[in-house]
Symmetry: none
Subunit: 226 residues, 2 copies
DNA sequence: ATAATGAGGACACAGATTTGACATAAATCT
DNA sequence: AGATTTATGTCAAATCTGTGTCCTCATTAT
């Protein structure tokens, strides 16, 4: 199990450091952003953030806006830090999809408890995670692939290969690399075998098969759009 | 759907009336208790309480004690009303299984929002008495399975296997995973044994047996419809 | 106590599917 | 054009699943 990654967004560096210290002591991995814009940059860059702690008052882009934008793409749990007694904001937050509130000033112990409780709560319901790549919907848990709504059948190897491609979009992948990741690391067969599987995968993906680009003399690359 | 039943426990009758008024306006049915002992009496008398709002400070038996005792029997959602800044209590509450906090003084709007959010949250996770999966009705407590109204006989293992499938619908399950969950985790027998049980289960489920899909080279998946 | 029954598990064999190799055609680079 | 590299069709080998059957153990009936 990898470390759980938490993004802290607050314009006061003292506050960020405080939170960071306590959460790191709990074994979480911490990312920091000093305003909403920076937070969104980090959010887009790193798909594996598990929780966001968000201050409401920030320059450039406040917490509500960040929350709203994040919610367009993700269900990642969000904790809002608010100055007290802002009822209207709290209601607004429920609509926006805030999961928890912590009122400043707060004690670090409460922070840690809330983070733990929220992560636990979310973990039990997380379920579906399907990745969308230009109309190709891959649901890893269901082991199912849908293209424009229609389910297609893939063999296990094909499924694994597609998953590997989609999880490494826009990256040029050498045959060796593909072999090492999709096949057992101790597989020493013909690298040309990949071609065969790519062939099949392309044909099963139909017109979307051309998302798998050939990089001559090198390998393959999965990329949406022409 | 019956009315949702909420138990309010507070020693101040003014406070109870305030909460009652706002929640009744939302369509909830309200019960009142003026201290912990009374609350427990009501709790034992009425098994169908959907949510408890609990003041911490009360004579005879305080909120923490009530919470603790209730949690020995039930997972019913509990909201705690606290005077502010009682950090230690809040932490204590997380351990005891408090679901939400509301700090006095609070606005009725917040109260209503929290109650709604909590009920919604819980509703999605509550364990139904019997689960319905495409006409297959599994009653875990009665250990009984009905298909389109007709009861069918399953052996213990078959029942456990079916339950596991149904509780993990649409998820691809490897044989290993099934083994670890349906059999004792320290069972090291033949994985093919699962096939045998799946075979029997399928045949006993009749035409609904094809809900159990084979994922070639991977395991099985339970999924309703084609 | 003994026999009958049924569940749980193991296993082998046939049939089905997937996989990887190979030969050849097509494409790309220099 | 010549040298490489990739695409594709074909096919046998490897792998996996479905099913019938057998064995053991425990429970129930006689």
């Amino acid at each position: 199990m990898e470390k759980i990654k938490i993004l802290i967004v607050d314009d006061e560096s003292r506050m960020r450091k405080l939170i960071r210290d306590f959460l790191e002591r709990e074994g979480y991995q911490i990312l920091e952003a000093s305003d909403g814009v920076e937070a969104m940059d980090l959010f887009y860059a790193d798909k594996s953030i598990d929780l966001i702690i968000l201050d409401v008052m920030m320059p450039r882009m406040d917490g509500w806006e960040v929350c709203k934008e994040v919610r367009e793409y993700s269900k990642v749990p969000i904790i809002m830090l608010t100055a007290r007694a802002e009822e209207r904001n709290e209601l607004k937050g429920f609509e926006l999809g805030v999961d928890e509130y912590i009122t400043k000033p707060f004690s670090p112990k409460i922070l840690v408890a809330r983070v733990g409780a929220l992560l636990k709560r979310v973990k039990n319901m997380d379920g579906e995670e399907s990745i969308d790549a230009g109309g190709i919907l891959v649901n890893k848990t269901a082991h199912m692939v849908t293209i424009d709504g229609k389910t297609i059948d893939l063999s296990v190897k094909e499924f694994e290969l597609l998953t590997y491609f989609i999880e490494n979009q826009k990256i040029a992948l050498s045959r060796e690399k593909i072999l090492n990741n999709v096949w057992n690391y101790d597989y020493f067969g013909d690298a040309r075998t990949i071609d065969t599987h790519v062939k099949k995968l392309r044909s099963k993906l139909g017109e979307k098969g051309n998302y798998i680009k050939t990089i001559w003399g090198m390998g393959y690359k999965f990329e949406v759009e022409s």
